[in-house]
Amino acid sequence: MNFLGIVYKNILRRKARTFLSLLGIMIGVAAIVTLVGISNGLRSNALDVMSTLTGDITVTKSGNILATETMDESVMDKIKDIKGVKYVAPVVIIPEKEIETGKGIGSFEVYGIDPVAEKLIGTAATEIKEGRALEANDRYKMIVGSAYAKMKNLKVGSKVTFYDKQFEIVGITETGNYIMDQMRAIPIDVAREVARLDPRTIHMVRVKVEKPGTEKEVALRINLIVPNVEATTSSEQTEQISNFMDTIRTMTWAISAVAAIVGGIGIMNTMLMSVIERTKEIGIFKAVGWSNTDTLKMILLEGFLLGFFGGILGVIGGKLATMIFASLLAQFQADITLTLVGEAMLFAVSLGVIGGIYPAYRAASIDPIEALRNE
């Protein structure tokens, strides 16, 4: 037996109580690992592919980067004439409306696209996994992303009702990006018809530049020449997404940290109780020659071990939770990095040690004479 051995025996003495305090830390750490892992996963997923599949530049109405307001198709002609622009593709975004498939209801937005222009630019809508892409003469045809298809159990040839019309799924796309693989698209003119939009309405223009590396320059030109529009390069978009994801990550950390801190208070409570119960024992240790520091070390080490084991259980729990998520959502990936595991473990251990400080101080302050007479 060594010093660690006695510490280990101490925490195993009240198994149920130790288990409950471990559970507190575990839930907190599992929340950190799961939520931050998911936000990491979304982030890398979003940033990996999005920039290459939305065109080099996206043009929306000025001050309306989310493309909720409409523009006239004439904007496209103006953009097309600008130096450095190779192709343009119009996009209509249909306001959300339920898609009834008989297998549940979707509530994501649907794109109206120009099949020919999309092909020229090479967007997510052209990454066909099964079936085919939309073609120029298609009417009530739809392509869907693989994640959406899996979620709704759709196949090539399935029929879905959208705005009271029946659409046939002709193709399933797959980009490897979870968000983009939720996409659905129909021909742009049909989209305008069903949503009762003006035949010249567009929400967004995707632009491909002639020479890679000139995106910023061309976007600047569009902004200067075409009135009332806002051109954003995909790298700028990536940056905006990245900032947004950072905010999400910070928030998930904060929320799960609160859970973990509650677990830490549980540890403090457990250890305080345990120190009070062991007052006499601690008195004996001191009477036979333990220093205050030895006593302090013993209790802090107990806190450390509780935090450490709680952390390990939490990391395992978090990993399991993300695996469950992944099995429920197609192509979903949580990104549990070694850094995240390290951060979560450090957090758990710190909580254990910090939770142990006050109980350890109490133990170190025990007067052996009084303790020995304590019944």
Binding site: M1, N2, K9, I284, K286, A287, G289, S291
Partner: protein, 225 residues
């Protein structure tokens, strides 16, 4: 040698001052086996706490091997207890979750335990006749056996001084005699200074000198030899 000079320990309980020790002076030579006898509240345990550096006096001095223990900073007083003094308490005061062997090793834990120390602990358990019980927990031992484990623990650091507070207080008279016999053997064989507190004159008769305490003062002293 241990020397006590006009040792006083007063406690205040509300408005009343309790004189637990009221001017005790005495000398204890190395290798002496003495007993402190007196009725409840006479200051026996308080005196033992003072000699064992567990408590500080209100006034007066405790000098162990020429060192006034009041001059040792409180923060390092534990070293004196660890290196020079072995305690045997009235109740065995063993840790219930540890085995007999582990209980014997407690004083050494902070310094780390090597094979040599391990073997010494086993040897001590053999000396007190409990080698076969080394891996038993206190709940599996009788009262006398527990007290013998506590004695082995007091001896683990090879102390020059053993302080025993009513070591026979919680065992039957036969076991009590065994314990006293063992202490006597220890005193003779290893020249360990032993001070025991007891209210049992039969036990005290086995020691070299009996000091009678009353109301915090030495009432009288009797040499038994």
């Amino acid at each position: 040698m241990i020397e006590l000079i006009d040792l006083k320990k007063y406690y205040r309980i509300g408005d009343i001052t309790v004189k637990a020790l009221d001017g005790v002076s005495m000398k204890i030579e190395d290798g002496e086996f003495i007993s402190i006898v007196g009725p409840s509240g006479s200051g026996k345990t308080t005196l033992l706490d003072q000699i064992g550096a567990l408590d500080t006096p209100t006034s007066g001095k405790v000098i162990i091997d020429g060192i006034d223990i009041a001059k040792i900073p409180k923060s390092i007083l534990y070293k004196l207890r660890r290196k020079k003094i072995g305690f045997v308490f009235q109740e065995h005061n063993l840790i219930p979750s540890l085995t007999a062997l582990e209980n014997v090793l407690i004083p050494l834990l902070p310094e780390g335990i090597d094979q040599k120390k391990y073997e010494r602990a086993l040897k001590l358990l053999e000396i007190v006749g409990l080698k076969e019980r080394a891996l038993h927990k206190p709940s599996e031992l009788s009262g006398g056996q527990k007290q013998r484990v506590a004695m082995a623990r007091a001896l683990i650091n090879n102390p020059k001084l053993i302080l025993a507070d009513e070591p026979t207080g919680s065992v039957d008279s036969k076991t009590g005699q065994e314990i006293v016999g063992f202490l006597k053997k220890l005193n003779k064989e290893f020249n360990t200074t032993i001070i025991i507190v007891t209210h049992d004159l039969e036990v005290a008769k086995n020691t070299d000198r009996i000091i009678f305490l009353r109301d915090g003062k030495i009432d009288r002293e009797v040499k038994t030899l």
